[in-house]
Symmetry: C2
Amino acid sequence: MIGMSVAWRAAAVGHRVQLVDAEPASGASNVAGGMLAPIAEAWPGEEELLELGEASLRLWPAFADELGRASGLPSGLRREGTLVVGVDSADRAELDSLVDYLARLGRTVTRLTSREVRRLEPSLGPAVRGGLEVPGDLAVDNRLALAALRAAAAAAGVDFVAANAKRVRPGAVELEDSTVDCDVVVIAAGVHSGALHPVLKDRIRPVKGEILRLRARTTALPPPSRTIRGPVRGRQTYLVPRDDGGLVLGATQYEVGFDTEVTVGGVRDLIADAERLLPGIAEYKLVEAAAGLRPSTDDNLPVLGWLEPGVLAATGHHRGGFLLAPVTGEAVLALLHGEEPATEIKAADPSRWGGQ
Amino acid sequence: MIGMSVAWRAAAVGHRVQLVDAEPASGASNVAGGMLAPIAEAWPGEEELLELGEASLRLWPAFADELGRASGLPSGLRREGTLVVGVDSADRAELDSLVDYLARLGRTVTRLTSREVRRLEPSLGPAVRGGLEVPGDLAVDNRLALAALRAAAAAAGVDFVAANAKRVRPGAVELEDSTVDCDVVVIAAGVHSGALHPVLKDRIRPVKGEILRLRARTTALPPPSRTIRGPVRGRQTYLVPRDDGGLVLGATQYEVGFDTEVTVGGVRDLIADAERLLPGIAEYKLVEAAAGLRPSTDDNLPVLGWLEPGVLAATGHHRGGFLLAPVTGEAVLALLHGEEPATEIKAADPSRWGGQ
């Protein structure tokens, strides 16, 4: 998502862009749920990530509109908002903490009783004991967005190079048997980014996530209209509806290296947690089970900035590749043009690690 | 499985055979677990099915050997035997009933304590409270057997007609746009058999079954070597190992018409039941979730016999398509040649419904 977004934005303002990827859109982005939910996913200590996410979310409606126009395809943006819910007293305490934390940061969200939650989303089960309404937190159909981005990038003149980068240096991307020359390299290779440049080495680790794609059967209650996010017995769970009656259940988190196999235990946990929120999914069709690798950093912030002259990083977006795509595109353009990027970007500069 | 077996056996003895199927091996056989377990699956009141199953099981080793020779491919037969286990006191009572029932029929099986069960299969979990050893009940890798059958049938001269039958009459199979003429039609069309001939109308109903295909990961305990069959809190569950570290979990049973969608609730139940027997599967890879339709009759016996002159039925095998393939092949050959089929076959004759 990040690589194609940057490629499209750069090509759209007149740069000549070559996108080096053997299988574009086959990585974590293809597996993602597509939450655009900086408030619902806020976490104490991650204020810079919250600000970066909010800055990007503000850009999303215009980004989606332009993407739709440029591609002639749906952008996949859904504007129905997000509900954060909880099922037991520990979960409710976590919701209270989130409300207090957001209030201290000047963000107010609406606390709902279980009755109010079910009035908004009648398919939620009796286990749901209360929630928060976050109408500004949105979601995007990841596969629609990727398809639109690819079309928009192609229309803007992006040249797709079907190969994998082995290493990057100023002015060149080295492939298996050849080299792509260029003025500036932008590294946006997800979990593979760490292998491409010494500054990123050991800075980007894979965090595995399994998700399930479901679809409501005619015998089942339809999915909720809002994204449902919740701690369920301590495990973060989300249910992201799609326009076609689809529902994405996510996501497990494991630190197990480069492993993209779906485990039985992961599927079991996803179903159990989601069923507490939405009992009707027992009657849904299981369409797909998949796993992806989030490119994660120690502080959960992405890496956005110059690694050395001629080499830019736009990677390490952890769980936020879709949310942060618009702000990342803007930041890369600013950096390419020698301008100051938005203030929210500064925290993501690789200089935070010292030594650059 | 039945159609290809019959086609191979008939071609192997010199008949000219045309196999009419748009997608051979794409139905219930492709989804099956492949248990060959008449004793482990015996049920009071189904003595004729037990005898038919035992007769076919006796033929399986020679059938598999010949299939391997004729195809040059593995037949998929596994000879490690079957364990029937139970997890709670109701399950144990069910095992006791099965032992008593089999003893009354003159079949003795060995009752095992939980310790003896775990000595045979150390990967079974602490919930398993006892079992029965049935070394003579075997299993077959359904997909290996289907691939071998296809090759053997082709080598024997079977002509594969890639079309679906619409209706059958003496001497002819009617397709969408044409007709296949022949001396004898053998109906072996699984759940679609009922639509092909008036005698079968409303006699064959689809019973949906969902299964999961797993594979042991390097971090997980290897699968059991025997087939594990068990009532788990009243639900019949089986775990059938494959030679490649694979394990098939089956199977749900629903009567919901022609529905082959895998449901979230089905997957949840299969995992929950199997995990009670084999806790290590949480670390297994989920390779595939699939559903098939068993062609079932009211008495669970297949339909093996003449429907009218020129039209034979070899269908309605319910859960026993693989187990009953050898005896079905023999029976069809006997009927084609005007000979008396084995006595066990008589109960499956369509004349049991009267009126033929």
